[in-house]
Symmetry: D2
Subunit: 337 residues, 4 copies
């Protein structure tokens, strides 16, 4: 039984708490830390069977009984807490992105070098049933060599302008998942990025120095071309699809819905909208990634998504930003490591 | 927190144990009883956090701490244990069918008459996301008055001839779920049943005195005509669909699959088969029905599926058997209560 | 080049005229006859390149240049004109049904006995791309032995009460196509029919002595069970589907639409309704059946749908009527030939 | 009745011949010209009801009875014959592309300036039922302002290396249809093009100086971003889809198939591959575009696709070629007119 401490009791911290309590066999949460820990959260934690809560995450790092930590705090704390936790000998599950700054991720990598600690990054979509099926078809050779990889990723609602300002921009905040997906489906890295982007959803996003609509083309190492299309607002809900086209065929998915019911009337033939947002769509994948992390600890194997997998999408995001700024294709190698 | 005892640790008993442990908030299993309780099951029960196991279900009934029992034992014990439990003042969740014999179900009904005990029957499919969506469309008036109700229900594999002999026959064992579904979707009872049936899957089922393929037509009280088609073996897996056609339109569902991935190659365009069987397809519904049962206890409200809802499909099944024997439409009122 | 005369310039006569002019290679219409031939129809016929029009179909039968006739007149004239045409040595394409009276169809059969004339009945749906694909899958053994055959057939609008009175009733007018489809897909005849029916769409249909909603169960010679569901009014349009379930699997179709466009908005995900009615849905099949008829003449082969294929669905329809009247399953052999 | 001459009796010349003979009401082909006219083609033409054939297209231009010509000859002859025909006062339907050279298209435009001749370019896909439905949804405002336009266009088989050499390259030969589609769906012109391309299908295409796989991003005048993905070889057949995503929602199409039959077996759930290639997929659209051309002549209205609509996609194709050569986004305005 792996004893776990959770650092950060926001939305994603709560998702992982629920997963571990209900769906992860060999893990048990001992402590949840959050600087804004209050009565309500404390009560909720206890109702979930968590023994302790604290405002100070250092209590978790100092607790010799705790084997592993989940870093679910704000992005700017991911890399320093990662390093502290590694030094404290705790296995680390860190939410994406590790950092917006490559240098800081390199520091985490350095800390890991002389350590036996397991490190996993929270790119949960790799564990989604649809994307797993796409990946499996590719890996099994059913579509031959990949030629064109398409990822559609559109959110149901744009974030607030305040959030946009601290988010690192759409490429490090939202597209970063799609960059990981492209790497996952292609089975290799990108060598070049080109972005065509616009502010079409909300002018305040533009005023905050970001874009809200983008088509991103990537040259992959294996010769395939990948293309991601993003929007901060799809009126019909969360649009999450992938298609891989190759020498022998194509594999493609559609969105998940609450049910398959279709209603036919004089007005038309109507089905359900996609599941609303990531909590609805990806709940299963959060439990699966956590089970993989716990398994890697228990069996002393590699985690499925190491610190390098956390670094690469950040580099792709920085290259994408540069492509927008300089309006040209940008080589991944141009981003200074 | 409702304290629960589970009677019967077979397949369905284990399903409910998992649901309650992982997905039902306000319930806690204190004891699991099974006449064949062995070391393995005992170990499994403890790993799920269950405190006690026993070979004697009467220990559960005698335990003043236990509020509710789940009767997951063999069908012939459902009605006597129901009565014992009711007399012991325990709330009862009873797997379907309550009994093959109407008289015995009436005894359960009698026992309930002077009791405050909650009673729920395990027609879990009403809690399935697809059938719920069909029902909601009907209830919301989106398809107008129901005219034709169609239920397709086909199993992936036929049961053994041994099982068939004690099963009560296809209508009481398998179609009974579809009879409940027809009542659920029509919002009323049937008045007449006609069956066209055959042994096409496995001759040993015929030798055991049963059929394995059937088309069942039902006249409903509200004027609608319902039709169920059953097979004991669908080569492609568990086929579970419903369609309601009415004065304003139609609502219909398709099967659930593990993913929406479709692979297109020179050979064709291929999607996934339906989820394999009821454990895969209906897992969510088992948790939902249990939450409803616990809620009814906690809030002292009616359960969504009372003892009458357990009785009616049995009567429909007996009428269906008579229709096969006498090769004619049989009125529901012909079945002696 | 086969020279053709068309008897009857109503809706279906015009459909065949268009098909032959535009899509049938080796046929040419010489004359169109209609007792109500007027200026407008005459003008239309000439615009289609038809040389002659007349009020008297006997002109066609007497014309030695004409090889084949299409009988598109009112149902009560089908059998007498068939016999006259056969005696005049003309090949006959006769719209369905040949007659409502089995004795009269037998007279046509008698007339054909000593004749070299080709005779084809207009069950056009056999030539529809979807039903052809279902049949091909069955014939190719892809679904094994058929166990359950399902045909859904619902019209977009009920006929007038006046039409209902002379139509021979729903089974001889509408279901007759589905009876043919069941024979086509099963590859054999029915032995028994049971009908559950109701008047749910339009009370005036009931007053005219007919029903408008029906579920028809058929026992087929090969052991399969067939079930047809009919409604005179589907609010969403013409619903024409088939499913064959067998020992190795299932083949099923959905409705045709004008396009595959699906619109996703905040309100839902909406596709198109089925093509409106038989002219839209089955236009291709009308040309295909005609090409088959002309080919049979040119190559002196059997037509794909002989006079027996015209007789059998009428018998099934009469058995269905008897089933409604006597509220019991009716053997096909009970219908006097 | 418009009298038509067809110049070029190759594949597309034959398609238009069939359309006009069978499906275009007010047109009649008088003469077909082809430099390689032989006995077989002559026989075929007469079987279609065409009066004359010739090796010399100038006979058609000199024939005072002929109102309109269809230029279906090799691409390099399109612009000179267009000019000759215009000068001869014949209405012109010209297959795409008018020319690979902008200057030559400008000469056609000059010739048209002082003429009453109707001119239509053969971008038939605008008349396809699926793309029409997408366009209609956009025009009706159902998806709001377009933000992202996606066109998937993949051929079933690559052309020969010989053909590739004279084709003008993938962008002028194949993508040109998609450039037109993007203009059609966006309702405006592109301002910039960026291409990521590769030789992944057939090395001989690369040796011929062309690419066979491409993702093309376009900035549209109305702010939308368009993305086309092309492959010269889709193993599963002709892949022709479009999706428009906007402020209020999305409209998307899937491929057409011969039937909707889906076969479910132990091996999987299999549907049909897309219709094989453009002759199968777009046959209806060829008839529709021709009816529009004939209508424009008869009613003296504008054709739906004038000479400008022939010019714009060529410019987009030249910009795409430049983008590949210089590996950068290229403004449409950089292409010299």
């Amino acid at each position: 039984m792996v004893k776990v401490g959770i650092i950060g009791a926001g939305r994603i911290g709560k998702v992982h708490t629920k997963s571990i309590c209900n769906l992860v066999k060999n893990a048990e949460i001992k402590t949840i830390a959050d600087p804004f820990m209050n009565e309500e959260t404390d009560k909720w934690a206890h109702s979930m069977g968590v023994a302790n809560t604290t405002k100070d995450y250092k209590e978790i790092l100092a607790d010799p009984e705790i084997d592993a930590v989940l870093i679910c705090s704000s992005t700017n704390t991911h890399s320093p807490i990662s390093i502290e936790a590694i030094k404290a000998g705790k296995h680390v599950f860190c939410e994406k992105p590790i950092d917006h700054d490559v240098a800081k991720i390199k520091e985490v990598m350095d800390a890991l070098k002389d350590s036996d600690v397991k490190y996993q990054v929270g790119f949960n979509r790799r564990f989604d049933h649809n994307f797993e099926a796409v990946k499996n078809a590719v890996t099994a050779g059913q579509i031959g060599d990949p030629h064109i990889i398409k990822v559609t990723s559109r959110d149901p609602e744009p974030p607030s302008a305040e959030y946009v300002k601290v988010s690192g921009g759409i490429f490090l905040d939202m597209t970063i998942h799609d960059f990981d997906m492209v790497r996952f489906l292609a089975g290799c890295d990108a060598t070049e990025v080109y972005v065509q982007s616009a502010v079409l959803v909300d002018p305040s996003i533009g005023e905050a120095g970001d874009v809200d609509t983008a088509v991103i083309t990537l040259q992959m190492e294996n010769g395939a071309i990948a293309v991601i299309d993003n929007s901060r607002k799809a009126a019909y809900g969360y649009d999450q699809r992938a298609e891989v086209f190759g020498s022998k065929g194509m594999v493609a998915t559609v969105n998940d819905t609450q049910s398959s019911a279709v209603i036919s009337t004089a007005e038309g033939v109507t089905g359900e909208k996609p599941l609303y947002f990531f909590l609805e769509r990806y709940m299963d994948s959060f439990a699966k990634e956590m089970n993989c992390f716990i398994d890697a600890i228990e069996n002393n194997t590699d985690t499925p998504l190491g610190v390098e997998d956390g670094l690469k999408p950040v580099i792709m995001g920085l290259a994408a930003k540069k492509s927008v700024e300089e309006h040209r294709p940008v080589k991944i190698s141009e981003i200074q490591l």
